[in-house]
Subunit: 152 residues, 2 copies
DNA sequence: TTGACCTAGTACGTGCCACAAACTACATTC
DNA sequence: GAATGTAGTTTGTGGCACGTACTAGGTCAA
């Protein structure tokens, strides 16, 4: 695992301000993703790639747009996933330059499994610490934030 | 910037479940951290390193513990920060094998500035989207989750 | 239609980040 | 003081990201 749930320099019993709480929560969430990914030898960026391809095919440029990566970064990312048999490149029928990346059956299987495991772990965490009402609150608050405009 | 606020495969108008909301929120938060870090040419792991050293000195092993990294990873991480003049290594007075890593004045200055900018951006985001009551709720909920036991 | 662009993707070189295994040097323990 | 343990570095490998340069296919205008 790459990230860690621990705060980076805070003892574990003082009250948190909103910013710290959010930052630490993000590390916790990413840590879980990272740990689940590790079971399948997937990095977070690979998980995100597979997640995008879950619902659609896409060209390299489009994928890069979703992931915030340069097209030149995509070549390697997709290449490694392809070498492992998780995705495949096919020529675009409409554009001879373009390529369509899609999940292979193996990639899809792994994606579904990983997503289920991820869901299981996060849900487990939430249910141990939050009431049903709080869960609803959390979802609403997080959704409101995520819906915010592009990054400041 | 490395991460992206966009969901990875979801359109931006359907309701989110709790797991997706949390995951996306973590990408949003990390994306802001990453963007702020980029202004100072700092990666997220470098930011975390500086954050730990804000309150204390620490040995390589201890730092690795906080960051979830192997000691062999620490050598390079600290080495790069040292080469940039952000941290310094000094021999431990009590243990001839050990090294104490601490912030340099430059490192401290950069850390304070970055933390302030980070706080400013996240606060800005939150204040635009959430009422004061909601902010309090969010802090409580996030804190409750972060206080949870070690990763499942 | 053909030449001047533009665009999708790849190749290459560089650097950061992470790990495992092997090693050095100091500390501890008996 | 010899065996063992511990802190940190070194080396080699691989993933990830970038910028630059390149190839091949599309577009558009003269």
């Amino acid at each position: 695992m790459t990230t860690d749930s621990t705060p980076a320099g805070l003892t574990d019993d003082q009250p948190l301000n909103t910013v710290d709480a959010l930052v630490q929560l993000s590390f916790l969430t990413q840590g879980i993703m990272s740990a689940v990914g590790a079971e399948y030898d997937l990095s977070i960026i690979q998980i995100r790639l597979l997640g995008i391809l879950r619902d659609r095919q896409a060209g390299m440029l489009e994928l890069g747009g979703h992931l915030g990566l340069d097209k030149s970064s995509m070549t390697g990312l997709v290449g490694r996933a392809e070498k492992r048999g998780l995705v495949q490149r096919s020529p675009s029928p409409h554009d001879g330059r373009a390529v369509l990346v899609s999940l292979t059956p193996l990639g899809r299987q792994l994606t579904e499994r990983g997503a289920a495991e991820m869901s299981r772990r996060i849900t487990g965490l939430i249910e141990r610490r939050l009431t049903a009402a709080q869960r609803t609150q959390l979802t609403e608050l997080a959704t409101a934030l995520v819906r915010a405009q592009p990054l400041t």
